[in-house]
């Protein structure tokens, strides 16, 4: 558990995640209040990484559920291992018919069989999926539900139930109640809006592009080989580029790629030519690259 807001910042930094006071505050509060956090923001600003690093910092197990269209309870919660059940039935065929040989009618046979049902619907044949894992975990875990906006709203409704009582009922086995509420982080890229009910259940964290200071720190910690001089020049430049009317602004992950590339090329200062040659590390659209080239006199100092 984190002691205070500053502690969040310090602990995450130990695991190479640089977070703003805003981020740290929401995370700290969410833990105190035992509430899930819905994290939104543009691509590549560290939403997923935040979840991973929290787990590392608190030495908790990270359980990740990647969402996609069509994700259903079977993939999120648990699944019966039908093939294995079928296989066992085959193997036990003789045993079963022997057991049922004394029954005269079909009804009697079925009754007899259903007495043994428990054998087939026990945890031997159960495949636990992330949410069940997180709820049943013997120690507190971080449950990262990534890109929830890609799932369908039916799934969201189901998730809401789990998040309200942290217990899961498996009809054939019983109800599993969480010993420790997992710390739940949901991320979204805003492909669609989440329901009001879900949002009400969560604290909300919007991560925007970082300030220059923070981004500089991120580069220094992740790409130390990029010297401090080059780093600060690079950040200044990236921030100037973000001001332009682009189709897609470069995110932290792109800044990191650029820093790596430039240090591999052995740059010590950001020269205009080498910058332009490597623009494709931070800009994904030809048009954006052209725009930056056109404005290069304002953007690059050297």
């Amino acid at each position: 558990m984190f002691d205070n807001v500053q502690h969040v910042i310090d602990q995450l930094e130990k695991h190479k995640y640089i977070c703003s006071r805003d981020i740290a505050t929401t995370i700290y509060l969410a833990m105190k209040m035992q509430k899930p956090v819905l994290v939104e923001g543009p691509a590549g600003v560290g939403k997923t990484d935040l979840g991973k690093c929290i787990a590392l910092a608190l030495n908790m197990e990270l359980i990740r559920l990647q969402c996609y269209e069509g994700l259903d309870e079977a993939k999120a919660l648990y699944e019966w291992e039908y093939a294995k059940q079928l296989l066992y039935t085959q193997i036990l065929k003789d045993k079963l018919s022997q057991m049922l040989s004394n029954e005269d009618t079909l009804t009697d046979a079925i009754n007899k069989l259903s007495e043994e049902e428990d054998v087939f619907f026990s945890d031997k044949f159960l495949i636990p999926r992330p949410i069940l894992k997180a709820v049943a975990s013997p120690s507190p875990a971080v449950l990262l539900i990534d890109e929830i906006d890609k799932s369908d709203s039916e799934f969201e409704a189901f998730l809401l139930e789990v998040l309200s009582d942290y217990q899961i009922t498996i009809p054939e086995i019983g109800t599993i109640v969480a010993k420790h509420k997992p710390f739940v982080l949901l991320t979204s890229n805003n492909a669609r809006e989440m329901s009001d009910a879900l949002k009400r259940r969560c604290l909300h964290l919007y991560i925007d592009f970082p300030s220059k200071e923070l981004e500089e720190k991120i580069i220094q910690i992740k790409v130390p080989e990029c010297g401090s001089y080059l780093t600060s020049e690079l950040i200044e430049t990236v921030h100037r580029i973000r001001q332009l009317p682009l189709k897609k602004e470069p995110s932290i992950s792109e800044t990191l790629d650029w820093a790596k590339a430039l240090s591999l090329l052995g740059c010590e200062v950001l020269k205009k030519e080498s910058a332009i040659d490597t623009l494709n590390f931070i800009l994904k659209y030809e048009k954006d690259i052209e725009l930056v080239k056109k404005k290069s006199d304002d953007i690059f100092i050297h």
């Binding site: 509430k35 093939a83 909300h204 009317p245």
Partner: protein, 465 residues
Amino acid sequence: MKHENDIQHRVKKKFFDFTAILKDAGIELSTVEVMDMFEALQYVEFNDKNAFKQTLSSTLIKDYTDLPVFERCFERFFEKKTGDSDNFLDTLIERSIDQLKSHDDQKITDEQMIMLQEQVEKFLDEQPSESLFEKTPEQLLSLFLESLEESSESGGGGLGFMLFSSRGHTSSPGISEEDSDETGDDATLDDDLYQMMLEMLKNRRNEKTIGTEQKKHDEYLLNKFIYQLTPEEIKEMRELIMRFGQKMKNRISLRKKKIKHGSLDVKRTFRSNMQYDSIPFRLFYKDKRIDRPQLIVLCDISSSVNQYSRFMLLLTYTLQSLFSKVRTFAFISNMVEITELFREMDPERALSSIFSDTDFTYGWGSNYGNSFNQFMENYSDSLSHKSTVLVIGDARNNNQDPGMKSFLRIKERSRNLFWLNPDKRHLWDWSDSIATVYKPHCTEMREVNNVIDLADFVDKLFVKK
């Protein structure tokens, strides 16, 4: 001097005030959010401005498109008052009183001051919200004094008595003739006290109306006749439209997702159950086809609709970024496709390059007929039974051929044809406008000249199906 409970109570009230302001500004808040905020406030230090602000925003604001509004309300409500001070809360309570103290040091004690402040707040809370806007501070003050006098007559609260017993002048400064009539002749009080109370009222009123003002400003812009928007307002509009656009998009995709499950997908069910000897353990359903309307926008950008068309183009741009299948055309007397232009640039740049680089044949005035003809000649491939055509313009055809044949073919080859006309309805045939020539052949011709109307239209078009 300060009682713990008292302070807690006042602090709590401040936060309730703030949530009320957010609601006034149009942000939806339920009790869950407000309770969360109070719970969260226990855990943060108030001398950490970022943490404090973030505590409020992450508990109260659930829709990121509301963040700019929150930001503005927060700035006005908290920052003005607290300045750069270390501890938010202390200053939050005390500053309002300290500010006033300079007016008067002896005549009134701190306790009385706090009492007075509370009375002022209570009084304003009880006022109907319109009167907060309509009445001048002086008028409000005289009403307040009246209510004080009443309450002191009936024995409740010695405040009125205290104020009026220290009366100095015979007539209150700043109260105009009529107002003093309302107040009654004997309502005279000390100059300094009067000014101080006026100040109190003003501060409190400003604070209370932060949210409403914010919303009023937005609504004012959204409802304003588009021709009359000033250049600054257009800039503000841009942010507003983006916000609305995003909200609209979110809402639409939310509904899209809801109409999914369709009939059994036999093929997929069969295929994936082969591993179980084709015993259908798991069933798969077909997704219902999601209706994605294909939009074709034809926008008149001639000078008769100049301001309007810049604006409509901005909206079209937003539409195009909201929906995947949009093709956009602009015309004066020539029809030009600008889909690509919009796709590649931000609206500001696209708009200026449209007007500088593209040949719509300026100076000739609009020619709807010619433009429709050209559309059929060059772009009729964009039409299908799924497409919805949106014509945006005032139908002022400069007395030229209306191109009815092409217009009818556009109609025939698409599912719907809507016409958004910026002119007021009674002007539809005014001067060289031939709106009613086209109108009977449109699915609907609508007067649209502000954003609310447009949002309404789009909402109906895409959402309510």
